[in-house]
Assembly symmetry: C2
Homo-oligomer: 282 residues x 2
């Protein structure tokens, strides 16, 4: 399929997309690890969330979102959404070949395998990611002895979007989702934050699960994988001062900027002005 | 615009649509008040929620959803979603004229004006409904002395969808949203549940706000308006035993049926088998 991406252009931006603001946690990690790179972020806010939708619908939405970035000439594409990574990575890699496409599930699985001693790994994610079982497969491909238990925590998404990321309510919700599985799995020593919304709730989740579990999120690991890919392909930006962030949102760009500030941290919040773009439903 | 609706056919079903399952609270009230009528319900689960999206997007989605029902020959259309009622009622009435189109905001405003003695009325709703200010306008059109205070409570939607409708977490969230406005508005005596998801949280909201406020939801009033319209037009179904409910969902019909059972109550839950339909994005 013809694309206008720029897979060989070192000065082209990295494209990053998510259903909404959650992927900004990945953008933040990319910015910290690759300050020379320009980042073009798309939030598909017209159709968020992806996490409660069927695989077929998510694949279609993800392709439409990715196409906007590809048409703007990105050199690499990051699927900064666990649900879309879980169901659409292969499809997007094929459709946009030879553009490198990187999802967040494989890096998250890598980080979990490195962090766990016992091999008993808990994954919290959206309903869509849990249903697809991608984390379980990715972890067991790396570590055949691993026992993976997945729990869908859809309320965490709404909580993060509302900015209620600390305090009694967030902790009570974390307890309700996790106390049962923690009792049932006394060997578990690692908890994967398998949704890009969840890192902003890290403190509340950590307080609820206690020190026994190492919390793993895929943002940093994904940024490391992106850095390694760019280096291997000779695609690192040559100018260390060139990094810019630009934002696109498929709906309500003002809300995107307001809610997004919770996810980017202060340093990036000032740059959060989103341009509205239309997606064509295929 | 050509339609295949059946505005003059007494035996045709009533069409009801919502972004997802919330409108099932309206369906339930219709079923109770109009047991002879057949109801055809569409949940636009591929694009839910509408409440965080812009007015333009909601109008477009609402027209697409309504069109599916119109093409299946409904005799009257109910917009069982406050967000869509607030921004799309006029547009849909025009596009599908002469089909009668009834939203939930006007009936809700009517019920609030009847319930309030002091004229100080609180409205809780989604971000989209609050931003549009439709409740405030509808209430003040009926009662010029009314003082309306709106509060967006987006987490209630996720809470209702998760089925966590009672208990400490639901009440804590209700307190966090409402304690401030209750202190600031000591004269308020009426709370409008301005989102069709919220009636399932009635017990928790009621516990949080105490006996001072009368809780008003638009489901029953909407059903009464529908009954009155059908009667006035000579469109009540002639056969008292004819009522059936059928369900369409634009995505994930199994999830629709599971989550929907929270909203319909037990009597209807057994009938909740949804057929998947595709929407064409205009």
């Amino acid at each position: 399929m013809a694309t206008s991406s720029a897979p060989g252009d070192r000065r082209a931006p990295i494209g990053v997309f998510d259903s909404g603001v959650g992927g900004l946690t990945v953008l933040r990690a990319l910015r910290e690890q690759l300050p020379a790179e320009s980042l073009l972020y798309l939030g598909d806010t017209a159709r968020l969330p992806y996490g409660t939708k069927s695989a077929g619908t998510v694949v279609r939405y993800a392709e439409q979102a990715a196409r906007v970035l590809v048409e703007r000439g990105v050199k690499l594409l990051v699927i900064a959404c666990n649900t879309a990574s879980a169901v659409a990575l292969e499809h997007l890699s094929e459709v946009f070949w030879p553009l490198p496409v990187i999802g967040v599930v494989e890096p998250g699985a890598e980080a979990a395998c490195a962090a766990s001693r016992t091999g008993e790994i808990l994954v919290i994610a959206t309903e869509g990611t849990v249903r697809g079982g991608a984390y379980e497969r990715a972890i067991q491909a790396r570590r055949a002895d691993a026992r993976v238990v997945q729990t869908a925590c859809p309320l965490f998404v709404a909580l993060a979007e509302e900015g209620w990321v600390r305090g009694a309510i967030a902790e009570a919700i974390a307890h309700r989702y996790l106390d049962g599985v923690l009792r049932e799995r006394p060997e578990a020593d690692c908890l994967v934050l398998g949704c890009t919304h969840f890192p902003v709730l890290r403190a509340a989740i950590s307080a609820a699960v206690g020190p026994r579990l190492t919390l793993v999120d895929s943002a940093e690991t994904t940024a490391r994988v992106v850095a390694a890919q760019l280096e291997r392909r000779g695609l690192l930006h040559p100018d260390p001062a060139a990094g810019r962030c630009s934002f696109l949102a498929t709906d309500a760009p003002a809300r995107f900027a307001r809610v997004g500030a919770v996810f980017t941290g202060e340093a990036l919040a000032a740059e959060l002005t989103a341009e509205a773009v239309e997606l064509v439903d295929l």
